[in-house]
Amino acid sequence: MKNKTAPFGLILSAIIVFICMSASWLPIADPIDHSMAHRFRPPESSYPLGTDNLGRDVLSRVIWGGRVSLLVGFLSVFLAMILGSVIGLITGYQGGFVDSLIMRIVDVMMCFPTLILGILFMAAMGQGLTSLIVAIGVAVTPRFVRLCRASVVSIKESAFIEAAKSMGLSDSRIMFRHILPNIMGSTIVMGSLWVGAIIIAEASLSFIGLGVPPPTPSWGRMVREGVEFLSHAPWVGIYSGLAIFVTVIGFNLLGDGLRDIIDPKLRR
């Protein structure tokens, strides 16, 4: 395979996911265990990435915070993919008035930046991990709806769909068994590209105080807390920022690579 960035992105993302998932087995301190005696320790052997304003281990918080960020990233994308595929499938396949109506709603939603929509939904649903996932997931759903609908509209005209109809298959069977697998490729690529963007969205929402409530660590919240001490204790915020950066790079490279592999026009 000529594409070298995709395996790199895959390895990078896999390492990050693996580290964050095994947080409870790693020999690291409790992320919410605070001690006033150990505030603002710079990185040293007992605290590899230092401690924050409450004496909590930054390394531990970066790893545990990654769990929240990745969880939100994956589940939001998953939610958006499912909602987007189902709505896109039905509107694209049935067409007509419902199709126009839903696509206009999608157009309206896409006029707002994802973050603004996320803030709106968070405000409506209140703080919490679940509402964060739902808010971001619903906010990016229109993009998936549009992608899926476009793929469905082109695939439903193909000869094998006509043949499936001539074989007497029901509409739901054609939609979910014959069309859905054909649009999964592009949806998955878009999903992997959006994981990075959603991690940033989660960080942004947490940064403005709309994320997961404290004391649960998340990367965005840690960056915000670190901003206050940036001049004399930069390690408090910088490492979580770095973690966001590396993770987003990893998922974007993976998504780009997947797109190149799946898109036959870019292959060769």
Binding site: G95, A163, K165, G168, L169, S170, N182
Partner: protein, 338 residues
């Protein structure tokens, strides 16, 4: 319809399978209404093959899709009746129609490569037909699909059933397509240009296969093609279509030996004939002058008169009806009527 002719038809073949009468299919587009099929009528009996022949865009495929009620939007069946097993398909509920499609009326498409889903194995797709229509379990349906693949002459069907469509050769693909259509032993098989996408040797194999299977199952076949050679090979009766209308109907032999409509004669004359050039020297292949008229703007009178070498004043004014000239031979042309 002529009673005596029909009776002789029934004597020769089995009972009537389908009767289409006065079928009109229209497409409502912003530029106006296009009548893709304009008053086609025919009957097909058990074990009989009816050919629909004509140039591209003359409504052959739309006729076939009308029978299955699969006209793509903005098309609509405006008039007519399609009697199948004593039931009018145009008035059947959709659910019933779906039960008929694939089990009692099945269709073979032109391009097997694009007519089968690239993401599933051949066996899987055929099995799906059994599961839909016979409520079979998957393992049973799989065995049935291996069986039917064997019946259409695919070697090592066990193996081929597990392959994807792109892994099969051209002839194998068309066989797989035929297998899928024949899965539930349909009473009527609609073959829409089944040999257009395959080369000549495979064309012969496919036709041979269809004929063999027809003999075994007694299915009626509606064969759509623009290849008169295929018509001559396969069909008991032929309808020549021109811009959505039947211009001549006859049995296979009569059509080739005594073509009456100028359009039919033109079509037959324009068949390239191997060796003709060397025999007759510089002779050009004959052609029908002009183009098929735009469907938006059909000529008044006989639709063929602008291209007809024998057109008269009457042809421009009034459309000729499809009238019997001999038993089983109908023509729509003033030349023949007078």
């Amino acid at each position: 319809m002529d009673g005596t002719r029909f009776e002789s038809q029934v004597e020769k073949h089995g009972e009537e399978v389908i009767e289409v009468s006065g079928l009109v299919t229209e497409f409502h587009i912003p530029e106006g209404v296009v009548r893709a099929v304009n008053g086609i009528s025919f009957r097909i009996c058990r074990g009989e093959t009816l050919g629909l022949v004509g140039e591209s865009g003359c409504g052959k495929s739309v006729t076939a899709l009308s029978i299955l009620r699969l006209i793509p939007s903005p098309g609509k069946i405006a008039k007519g009746r399609i009697l199948f097993e004593g039931q009018d398909l145009l008035r059947s509920p959709l659910r019933q129609m779906q039960q008929i499609r694939g089990s009692k009326i099945a269709m073979i498409f032109q391009e097997p490569m694009t007519s089968l889903n690239p993401l599933f194995t051949v066996g899987n797709q055929i099995a799906e037909v059994y599961m839909e229509h016979l409520d079979s379990r998957y393992t049973e349906a799989w065995e049935n699909s291996v069986d039917i693949l064997k019946k259409v002459g695919i070697p090592s069907p066990q193996q081929r059933a597990k392959e994807y469509i792109h892994q099969l050769s051209g002839g194998m693909r068309q066989r797989a397509m035929i297998a899928m259509a024949l899965a539930c032993n349909p009473k009527l098989l609609i073959a829409d240009e089944p040999t257009t996408a395959v080369d000549v040797t495979i064309q012969a194999q496919v036709l041979e296969l269809m004929r063999g299977l027809q003999k075994k199952t007694g299915a009626a076949i509606l064969l759509i093609t623009h290849n008169l050679g295929v018509i001559a090979e396969m069909c008991d009766r032929v309808i020549v279509m021109y811009v959505g209308q039947a211009v001549e109907e006859a049995d296979g032999d009569t059509l080739f030996d005594y073509p009456l409509h100028p359009y039919t004669r033109g079509l037959i004359a324009s068949i390239p004939f191997p060796g003709r050039k060397s025999i007759k020297g510089k002779d050009r292949l004959e052609e029908i002058p002009g183009l098929v008229p735009s469907m938006y703007d059909l000529p008044t009178g006989c639709v063929f008169f602008p291209r007809c070498s024998e057109a008269k004043d009457l042809c421009k004014k009034e459309a000729p009806e499809l009238i019997h000239v001999k038993e089983g031979h109908r023509v729509a042309c003033w030349m023949v009527h007078s």
